[in-house]
Point group: D3
Chain length 316, copies 6
């Protein structure tokens, strides 16, 4: 496009500072046989949510938020320069909701099988996508321990609503894909779960840290202990970040908001800390509904979650 | 409605997990001679506000927010199962604002007189409703010490605007319904009050804790000391929770928002702590305007305030 | 609740003028064996929409809008006093979208079978609900001619997305539930349909009036001719009102808005006119998404659509 | 402020085209004994509204909207250059709603008594202000015929809610300030009034034109006939413009919106026409709530209503 | 991307009906030496606006709106299948506003010089972009008659604010790029212009049709007469569509909205009519600010304006 | 205006408590030769922003927010009573953006030269205004050390975008107006700056404290050390408060929001602390865009920033 002065492709005529690399510029298109340190896949499924949710729009919103930030982590003096392969999004069917879980499973199986990247970022969608993702991950890449950041257990029974965003970890446990001891839930809050599901978690040997415990012990201390433990009994560690682990003041764009949650600085520090462990290999970010968010604040936090993960890996 | 498949009453065709009890399900209709541990009454008056306020819509919004949360307090392993009698709302006249204070007083006198419940929840409305509520409470149930969470003294003169949301505690003091020593104000902030009203508070012997003091000493330490003191000289303790005690980031739906306030976790812990004292018998929640709130965040905090109170009583 | 002064049930403490009957007051609860002139059923399904839609919230929003209007049609000097049986809403499953069409069909079959009312109002939901409604209506009550107000044909193929809001009339035609000659589409606009679906409509013998034709001939002239024709070859006439037949300025709360549509006065006059024909027995109102509406404008028009229908019947 | 380069008073550093006069620039401050062709007074009372209303903010919003428009009416080739004395706003008490009607009456009595201007513009506020305005107008300036543009009769009984925005014309009739024959209501809609109030209007001899009649006969034909009639039996004609006479698409910022109303071009042409009659001497504009308006659209129409009135007078 | 099941490029995993062509699918990327019937260029400049304007976001919003509509004009039975070359956007400098006019002129000169397309669509930006566009058009392609749809003359003096959105046609006239007789202004409204600029238009021989005239004569009659006249004395006709020619109810997203404007159906019919004349060769669409629009309504109208133009050409 | 009962100037008919002084009441108009302790000047320039910004509206929004707060700092028992001279706003040209920097420089040079006040408050506008302000300040009043609260370095190169909000401190350094050792940047965050600009800061000897450091050491400890250091080598200290130093939860109305920032209580305490040093003589507040703010939260914090500064001076 060199012949015409000042012309840029549609939507690309935006200010460029020659010395600044936007985090979004790290994204590159996927090609067969290409490999890289990081890969990202969009999982735009939210019709499986119990409550009304536009989380299917989150993969786009989070990618867009990466345009707002640079690649430089001044606090540790490191510039992130590794490319992130953007595989794209998995296509969802308008009415076959249950089949969409199969589609997610099939697409992610194929993607993980490529072994194209060392670190996998999955952008939901609602939390139901984690079932397909973790199942495919385990089958293709080996056993997996899970650190779930969440206000909720997500261990509901399947009879009442099928595979919703309230059931992913129940399904993984019931189908024997993971063992209860391989699941750590951090940030569980009062009045966000039924007693029976707490009991179920206990019966299954799930490790649960409430927000009160996080405040008392500190997130990084919890992470240190649990990651060490999980790393000994599983091949990989998978972080599942339900953004509603944050207080509503810090993540106003989640469907199930409430007070008493984590602040975003704590979460970001925790992700930075966790990613420094070599076993940590994948992370999903779920439950952001951009249609109800305020100034994309929650997607902005999500983009920081990605960057802190990469900062952690760059710090190793 | 058993003959017709899938039919539910209008508005009730919503997802139900068989193991989950929503906090709102604890509400039951009032009937003469019925009694329970908790009772709730809506006081939808806000035309008495100095600034434009839709706080009259708050009783509905807070009840609705109870639908978003469960009855299980995992941090202490307790399920809340005591019913809450919902007395309903007191009817307000469109133009007779001053008469509405009388209506509140009359209705609440009748309600308190039933002695139907052990713990009274009053949902404002603006803060002017506390005058009627506390006066009726004292006349029907005995003397009362007050813990007021608020950025403001609410001790304005009556001459300039009549019985507004700026005057409830002035009226109570001037009419001898309470004594200054029986009033504790917590969370008072800079630049939210006139010097003369601070001086008035001092002259009356009101105990005042500013936000700086709350940050320095801690809310629970303050509550412990003051509840013990009040319990000795009054029959009951009444919590008056003006939600603008919270910072604007945590309670965006109050008419008089500002920075420098309390965070919601601190408030919730404080209510949990206070409610464990047997003298604490009533609580009003005021100054939430759902028409300017963001995603009902402030009503959501209010519903948690109720739940933390009940958690406190359940912990006794 | 006579013992306590000023007390009203929660949410009912609202101003009441003794001489004014709100349209919403005409709604009464359904009971087995009860019968009336009108009946209303909520069909809260919108996960079947191609685009993101909160049309499942519309039954509640439309009922609520009836509270804003009275029962008096001054232009014809008639007060609407016949009760409307509110059957309630049909319960939808969170993830079994296709099964929800069966649920709608089953519930409506049972309801129509009661023959409890003379005129049936169905509140969607997205337009996919019309398939279940019309199929059940025909099976229970006899053959049916359809007047569809819509910017779109809704004759898409089923292969690409299953039973979405783009397919209800295709399904009815393909399954032989209706014949093409029994379907009249009014308000079809440029650039809102594919050529192939226009061709399909022509092949099936569907009668199509574009907005240009509506402007040229007038809506009532079209209705007079088509209702007379349909009344001769079918037992009943069913109005299917997709609110996106209106211009975006008049119905901002539909998912698929655009310019060049009908104004609301024309539609309201048309409904009034059509309902005066004795064959007209049912009407659905679909494709209102209250979550994106402006001041519930679109639900307000919907409530007027109901009232104009009743005014038509009252004028007979 | 000539010594400091580029300095302007706070809020006045806005672009000024040397050849353009903004309509707002016609406003001048009132001083005792000053006189002019036009005068404007703000009546910021809306706590008297039946429904929640911020109409008290309308005087400011309408004045501000005058800044968006120029003083030149190209269609008749006339520049409006007569000044408009801005008397200011009458101060309302926060809780003494009924006393505020007296305040309006007293303030307006004093203002009308000055006879400072030939044409009076009153900016509400809700419609209850018209009672005080018309009563004071008649007592100070002589008998008055009223053209009321409104979807509603505003003839409710006083017992149920006191002097609300539903009662101004009832009060005027009952207190004998006006006679039913002197009141013309234009734009009355179906389902916006109770039958009993229609009957009351008929009994009192009020002249009522529904929207159907306006569409059939035309607004200007109605105005011509009624203004001529009123001019013969009263000293002055007073226009009372409730903006909800407009369809919700054209006046989204009124509390009581609905479909089927007038379009704004028709209203503006009608005001232009009416103002050309020498008997027309005053106009109030009421029922705009800027807090729920969209881009101040409704206040923008109001500013045009003022300008069309002045254009009418300039055309005489 | 055939190896991985269900994978689509980021943002492209959206529902596709095999028989439907979205209007946006007609857009193709520009390549040197490529030619087509239509071309589109984005001109994202709005810092030149007198009032605060985000019109620079409109090119993206209008392209996106093309995704909401199909390519089939049922009213004339024609499917639009000609491709539209999307040249992209011209890059604007953050602070060199006046230089940006030069950039627009240089880029458009290069683009017009390619003679790559028969019909040019220019997407503003504010109206100041028309100066550069028309100047470059004339220099590269021949003399030009202009049909300007606008509530405003845009003939302000240059001294007070430089080359703003108030001055494009003044600049064109003063620099002799066009002659007054070659400029037709349609839709001018009262109170939107200063008298001096009306006078200037008259002195320059500009033809002006106010909205009153449009309503009286009809838009198509005006267009027929003026296009015939212009076609005789210029080589080409250029349509300049300032969306604020529409009433605020139909185009809520323009910076300078007001009542009394054109409805969108009239404008769309006019564009369809005008485009059928062979002299009409270019069209700009300006003054849409997506940041203040409601549900992209105004960009939706703009996308229809493009489609109606193409429908006109397809009807020739 | 004593003759007419209840009349107040337009917009001034608001509730007044006789004992309460609003902070806004401290503002007084500027007159030549007048002097006071504080002065305030509005700098409404934001067309110089890299991203779309309405920061030009902030001076008005911040002044208005002062109306929400009183003059009494209860925590230190001091009433602020010193007047603040409101010089007004500097007028900006619509299209001559670069010239506007000169206008700011000229206007502020004249204002500083008056030496009318002891403490200068500058209300931006975007951060580009600080260049003109600091340059003029130094030339008129002496050398200056700067404490910049900001998430960003604002040391971008000038070639790519001219004098934007990304360059003010680069310009000051490059033109030798300040030395790198005189600049302290507090609150710099990860992913908000390019590495090259961090390096530039280091090369120039700028002192940088990241948010991690602020959390570790504490803001007041940093301020104490740096103010002491700067006070030794410069005549005055100038605080430059970019509100995006705050976390997005506390300052949602800044153009460049993100997580991980400072909370507002920390900032307010820091300003109070800093202002107690006698060298601190000026403060600008920039980067608030009221058009995207939520309930003016960010302008409310800004008004508190002013009040805390004054509280600091009153505590000396
Ligand atoms: Ca979850
Ligand atoms: Ca969750
Ligand atoms: Ca209070
Ligand atoms: Ca308060
Ligand atoms: Ca449809
Ligand atoms: Ca449709
Ligand atoms: Ca009225
Ligand atoms: Ca009315
Ligand atoms: Ca223009
Ligand atoms: Ca224009
Ligand atoms: Ca900055
Ligand atoms: Ca910054």
């Amino acid at each position: 496009m060199t012949e015409i002065r000042h012309l840029r492709p549609a939507g690309k005529a935006i200010f460029k500072d020659r010395y600044t690399t936007k985090a979004k510029e790290l994204l590159t298109n996927w090609l067969p046989r290409k490999s890289a340190k990081y890969g990202i896949i969009g999982l735009p499924l939210s019709k499986s949510s119990i409550s009304y949710s536009g989380a299917a729009f989150a993969p786009g919103a989070i990618r867009e938020a990466l345009q707002s930030y640079s690649n430089y982590a001044g606090e540790i003096g490191i510039e992130l320069t590794d490319e992130i392969i953007d595989f794209g999004d998995l296509e969802m069917h308008p009415t076959d909701t249950i089949g969409n879980h199969t589609r997610l499973y099939e697409g992610l199986s194929d993607i993980y099988q490529t072994k194209a990247v060392n670190n996998w970022f999955l952008l939901g969608g609602d939390h139901s996508v984690s079932y397909a993702s973790i199942r495919a991950f385990k089958e293709q890449l080996g056993s997996v321990g899970i650190i779930q950041f969440d206000a909720h257990h997500d261990l509901r029974n399947m009879e009442d609503g099928g595979p919703t965003n309230g059931t992913p970890f129940r399904r993984l446990l019931e189908e024997g894909i993971i063992d209860g001891r391989d699941l750590v839930q951090i940030g569980i809050r009062d009045f966000t779960n039924a007693k029976q599901y707490h009991n179920y978690a206990m019966e299954q040997g799930v490790t649960v840290y409430t927000m009160a415990t996080v405040r008392e012990i500190g997130l990084n201390a919890i992470l240190e202990q649990e990651i060490d433990r999980l790393a000994k009994c599983t091949n990989h560690i998978y972080l599942s970040v339900d953004m509603d682990v944050l207080d509503q003041a810090f993540a106003p764009g989640c469907p199930a908001i409430g007070p008493g949650g984590m602040d975003s600085t704590t979460l970001l520090n925790g992700i930075h800390f966790a990613a420094q462990h070599e076993s940590v290999k994948a992370m999903d970010i779920v439950e952001i509904d951009p249609t109800i968010d305020i100034r994309n604040m929650t997607s902005r936090v999500a983009s920081y979650v990605l960057l802190e993960y990469m900062k952690g890996k760059a710090s190793m």
